[in-house]
């Protein structure tokens, strides 16, 4: 084990996978000599050369399309999209091509493409650089969606994505890049998709926290614990596939559910999770399924406005207090 940042965990995993498999390449805007605008790709171009670490034009459609075509011909591309907000620029290649190539070809196309994407609000980046678009793509069968919240998961889920055979949207929360944590030294360390992690056990409330909301969820749980409200924090780790069983097991135990994510509330990932719980465990619930999420407006620039729109630790705390007091 070693203690490294989330950003370092992603970098090291890419470095190890590129060393292990010559078919792994990295393409994207400023991933080469710049080292990535978030600094994640670092010196990879020096280690593996400009053939395998390719700076692209600002050309998201070409990036995703090229990754898809290269994957069909046997490479394992990692494509970096600098901001999740830019994914719609490549909309057709993502939604109609990458996601569906395997299915519509009757299984003939193999599509090992990892799309690394930054997500979430880094602070005063306003409406086009702060969104959390994970949920938009949950509605597109064929894509897998990873939302790592710890350095270990960043490493382990990324390795699974790169070695896998399917297109993965790998969402890196900008405010987690500096987060430190323990990561395995095992060069084959991988976290399987579809296995949620229970980050803290508790009997009173299930708190499902997605991506960048995990630190806030753990902080809220700490405060609530002092008040005698025991919160169970569940981190889904991947939204597609979703570990329904771990979620339902926790809900059946606590009978109360809060879902926290930075995506907008309306049809964010929480809407799907809430519907699943309603379909399969409604009889266990002692109150409404509560979503703590961004208000349904574009992300504003002003710090005062932005923090009002984004879900905060205090919102989780208040939601939990309300839920334990709730009487049917």
């Amino acid at each position: 084990m070693r203690t490294i940042t989330y950003s370092q965990a992603i970098y090291e995993t890419m470095r190890e996978e590129m060393a292990r498999d010559p078919h792994v390449i990295l393409i994207g805007e400023d991933v080469g000599i710049f080292g990535g605008v978030w600094g994640v790709s670092g010196d990879l171009v020096k280690l593996y050369g400009e053939d395998r670490v390719r700076d692209t034009p600002i050309s998201e459609t070409a990036i995703i399309g090229a990754a898809l075509g290269a994957a069909m011909m046997g490479l394992r591309p990692i494509a970096e999209i600098m901001f999740g907000d830019f994914l719609p620029v490549a909309g057709d290649q993502l939604v109609n091509q990458l996601a569906k190539a395997r299915y519509m070809s009757g299984g003939k196309a193999n599509v090992p493409v990892t799309v690394r994407i930054t997500t979430g609000a880094p602070g005063s980046a306003a409406a086009q650089h702060s969104q959390s678009p994970e949920g938009w793509y949950m509605n597109v069968p064929g894509l897998k969606i990873a939302v790592p919240a710890t350095p270990a998961d960043a490493a382990g889920l990324l390795r699974t994505a790169i070695r896998g055979e399917d297109p993965v949207l790998f969402f890196e929360h900008k405010m987690l890049y500096a987060l430190k944590g323990e990561v395995s030294d095992d060069p084959d360390f991988a976290v399987p998709f579809g296995q949620a992690a229970v980050r803290r056990e508790g009997r009173d409330v299930t708190l499902i926290a997605i991506g960048g909301m995990l630190p806030k969820a753990l902080e809220a749980a700490e405060t609530l614990g002092v008040e005698g409200i025991e919160v169970e924090v569940v981190d889904p780790r991947t939204l597609v596939p979703l570990d329904k069983e771990t979620i339902l097991t926790s809900v059946r135990k606590t009978s109360r559910v809060i879902i926290a994510h930075e995506a907008h509330k309306r049809l964010g990932p929480g809407a799907e999770i809430a519907a699943l719980i309603a379909e399969e465990a409604i009889g266990y619930l002692d109150g409404p399924i509560v979503r703590v999420a961004a208000r349904n407006v574009p992300l504003p620039y002003s710090p005062e406005l932005e923090s009002y729109v984004l879900p905060q630790t205090q919102d989780i705390i208040e939601a939990a207090r309300g839920l334990v007091r709730y009487r049917l």
């Binding site: 075509g69 290269a70 069909m72 070809s105 009757g106 193999n110 896998g164 055979e165 069983e245």
Partner: protein, 330 residues
């Protein structure tokens, strides 16, 4: 090159393939009317020379991406009419097991990376394939077919820019049939020759008579040779004409009978047949035998499709992902 420089075998193969493309389309249109084929068809009748001439310039290991008007490309790259017809008929024996239909037929073993339902959708994918070939230094070439309408899409420009920048071994083949769906090219683009668009991306752009199969072959062969030698991409524009609607059932109110008649007077198959007999000196009997062989292959294709099983409904759920873990919600 003159026609005399081609072997008889090669000339007959070009003729056979063009005829197969046309007759395949006419059969498919009939079978759709008869109820065997449930989905829509964008036929390429009239455009046979671009598909056949371009693919004749490729090696078997080279790859293509195709379009919504893609049946001709598939035949020309070696697609089997019976598996194509079975796919149109939505049978398990079809190229995609009935999951793709006309717009998504794929056969990696033949280098067919897929037709495409999105205008310009296949162009960036061909660039990605060419990136892999450049990376592996395996001497292969990718060719992307698209129509004139696609050259107004952003994907076209992004793809050509990247290919020009990286000097990728790819050929961009524009089948300019003068109409983007129901709107003439003059109302869609401010330039008459679309090949001029290559100049922004530091690659040659050539315009050829897309109804002359040998002219198409020669232009594409030159592009393929350049690409294989590391010279980078080429944009080839073949001017041609589709005889039927954008899709079967299109009322075609947007063009005149006089215009259609004029193009039918330049029919690529009729013209080539005449040249085979008069210039290349092929015996009429040999040409006629080729025509019979095409018809019997298509009889067989229709019979094969009709006799093939329909997929079991629950198989719709399989094949979305390469790896599935049990019991998980996708």
């Amino acid at each position: 090159m003159s026609i005399g420089d081609y072997s008889t075998e090669k000339l007959l193969r070009l003729y056979r393939q063009m005829l197969m493309v046309r007759e395949f389309e006419l059969r498919a249109i009939n079978e759709r009317r008869a109820g065997l084929i449930p989905g829509f068809i964008h036929s390429c009748v009239g455009q046979e020379a671009t598909a056949v001439g371009a693919c004749a310039a490729l090696e078997p290991a080279d790859v293509i991406t195709s379009t919504h008007r893609g049946h001709g490309h598939l035949v020309a790259k070696g697609g089997e009419p019976k598996y194509m017809m079975a796919e149109l008929a939505a049978r398990t024996t079809g190229y995609c097991g009935g999951k793709g239909g006309s717009l998504h037929m794929t056969d990696f073993s033949l280098g067919i990376l897929g037709a495409n339902g999105i205008v310009a959708g296949g162009i960036p994918i061909a660039v990605g394939a060419a990136l892999a070939f450049q990376q592996k230094k395996d001497g292969r070439v990718a060719l992307s077919f698209f129509g004139d309408g696609a050259t107004n899409e952003g994907a076209f420009h992004e793809a050509l820019n990247l290919a020009g920048l990286w000097k990728l071994p790819v050929i961009f083949f524009c089948e300019n049939n003068l109409y983007g769906e129901g709107t003439p090219q003059a109302k869609q683009a401010p330039v008459a020759d679309l090949a001029i668009r290559a100049s922004s991306y530091a690659m040659p752009g050539v315009t050829v008579d897309g109804n002359d199969v040998l002219a198409v072959y020669e232009a594409t062969k030159a592009a393929a040779d350049r690409a294989r030698a590391g010279g980078g991409p080429t944009l080839v524009e073949g001017k041609t004409y589709r005889y039927r609607g954008h899709y079967e059932g299109d009322p075609m109110v947007y063009r005149s009978k006089a215009e259609m008649d004029e193009w039918k007077g330049r029919d690529p198959i009729v013209a080539f047949r005449t040249r085979l007999l008069s210039e290349a000196g092929l015996p009429e009997a040999e040409v006629a035998a080729t025509e019979l062989a095409v018809q019997s292959a298509l009889d067989e294709a229709v019979a094969f499709a009709a006799a093939s099983p329909k997929p079991a409904p629950e198989t719709a759920l399989a094949g979305v992902y390469g790896e599935i873990s049990g019991g998980l919600v996708f």
